[in-house]
Symmetry: C2
Subunit: 367 residues, 2 copies
Amino acid sequence: MDERIREHARTLVDWSARIEAGDDVVLSVAEGAHELAVAVAEELGVRDANLVTLYGSSEVDRAYTRAHSGEFDEDPEYERALYEHADAVLRLGGGRNTTEGADVPAEKRQAKGRARQGIREARMDTDWVSTVHPTRALAQQAGMSYAEYQEFVYDAVLRDWEELADEMATMKELLDEGSEVRIVKEDTDLTMSIEGRTAVNSAASVAYDSHNLPSGEVFTAPHATEGEVFFDVPMTINSQRVRNVHLTFEDGEVVDFAAEQNEDAIAEVLDTDEGARRLGELGIGMNRGIDRFTDSILFDEKMGDTVHLAVGRAYESNFPEGSEGEANDSAVHVDMITDMSEDSRMEIDGEVVQRNGTFRWEDGFEG
Amino acid sequence: MDERIREHARTLVDWSARIEAGDDVVLSVAEGAHELAVAVAEELGVRDANLVTLYGSSEVDRAYTRAHSGEFDEDPEYERALYEHADAVLRLGGGRNTTEGADVPAEKRQAKGRARQGIREARMDTDWVSTVHPTRALAQQAGMSYAEYQEFVYDAVLRDWEELADEMATMKELLDEGSEVRIVKEDTDLTMSIEGRTAVNSAASVAYDSHNLPSGEVFTAPHATEGEVFFDVPMTINSQRVRNVHLTFEDGEVVDFAAEQNEDAIAEVLDTDEGARRLGELGIGMNRGIDRFTDSILFDEKMGDTVHLAVGRAYESNFPEGSEGEANDSAVHVDMITDMSEDSRMEIDGEVVQRNGTFRWEDGFEG
């Protein structure tokens, strides 16, 4: 077995999920993630954890969901009980076809999602971590060769997380102490209040309230957004490719929008509900192991020298105890990314903290 | 998809497991059983059943079990809760290497089995059914080409089960009314009491208390066994090939034994505990869709014109209500098969019911 797969497994089990003896672990394995599953199972065995392995097959899921009438039972007790009694859920993505769900009617997928809210909440109450095993399908989605894509994934995943967490702590401190963030670049001049919010140092570990491997971003929940912003990183929303989105905010709400490709997809998102026109997240990508966009939000939004904003649902982890109810609520959370590596700056309370892809504490920073 | 796979899925879901709307179904998928899993998921969707899919990977299991210290937690609650709340468990066998467990230390495998007795019982309390998807590894084990092996499996599985159940009902009636079975062939003259026992018509359906697809046997729990028996069908016991076993019984117990190959494997079985020297099962194979031995007990013991005897644990389904405690108890249940197609006869209370592979109710029977 490729030694990088073993390292990936150790990182997931130790750094990310902090598995200990006796932990009840659910391991969910996508069709193409078999090898990583074997490595993870070995690490779980070494730690004397317990193991239940699920088959996260998109072909099984497609066949089942399409054939179903669409009247899904609410939170079947046997599945909810599994998660309610579990300590950790490790999800290994990595399918054999990233568009396997393309012919599942949207209304059935949505109905299934609604019916399973209790199960989802039970799963989110565990120490859950999502990661991906590099597959040929993901390489194709990224427009890369398989070998090149493997390198890409392991560069992103196999980092010195302790060191990155320390660096991100500096960013978190600036955000926690600040009250206003401003982003300036081409077609962009946006200000957001972050008063009364707590930033999350998303260091790819449940110990940091971070549930993705790789991660490497600091995020908070902005409000009172004003101005315009241009997202130059392409993305896929509900299976539609969207390019060059431009949003205009007044009083915290999107009042105007445009996109060069599939503008309708943006319209659909913004029309979902009231919260869909407000920001739920401001994230600052700081993982420089991710050096290119691969059309996968798990990687793209963590890329060093990018900033992403999400319209829709905010994370309660950004709200100090007692104020969680203030989080922006919505059925959607759609991330959009802008490149901050050139001709750009981010300010906190009027002070530049990042210019042209260099942070204030780094060599070569030009305030 | 091969239409036979769809028929297999329909037979499993309808005839065998009797799945209805709202049933909570656990589907366990071996590494090589993906295609059958997709077909079964579709059938479950059509019936609006609920679905949790487990990955029954022998490589994952091997890696985990080998790495574990061997001190397994007893019946982890999350897994037990899954089965306790489930209505049915469908296990799709069909690995990619039938000897994947070869380097898992026996003591760890046994310790794991002992620690999971409550989980096993919870699973057996559901409407569970085991079947196999034909894989290249199973074809190899059977000494057959892949295409030939697929034919073999579907011939065994895709039967007119209603018709076979009717024929087996005749055999069950003879056994239920009779009190002594005698088997006579080369090196074999064995009598067993079946007084006070109820035969099971194992027609591959939970409606018949039968949990294997394919099935096609009628079995009971004999006692007071006397005489000698020769098993001419090769078998594998604890990964060891065993040939031509000869057992001698007195007062219901094995008092002498011999085998032409790996006699030690038989000795080990018989020495397990007190119940291991007594019979737990007499089974009469009646599935003529199975026309050859393939070194897989799921198929071999159901083959038409064979009889199998198991030393060890008896099934409670053979004991009328209130007398279940009388069932022979043992940690083992090892089946051994003898060919009844030539120069042989089976008698019930002195009357011949099968001679040279022909039953009393069939054309060509020579009483």
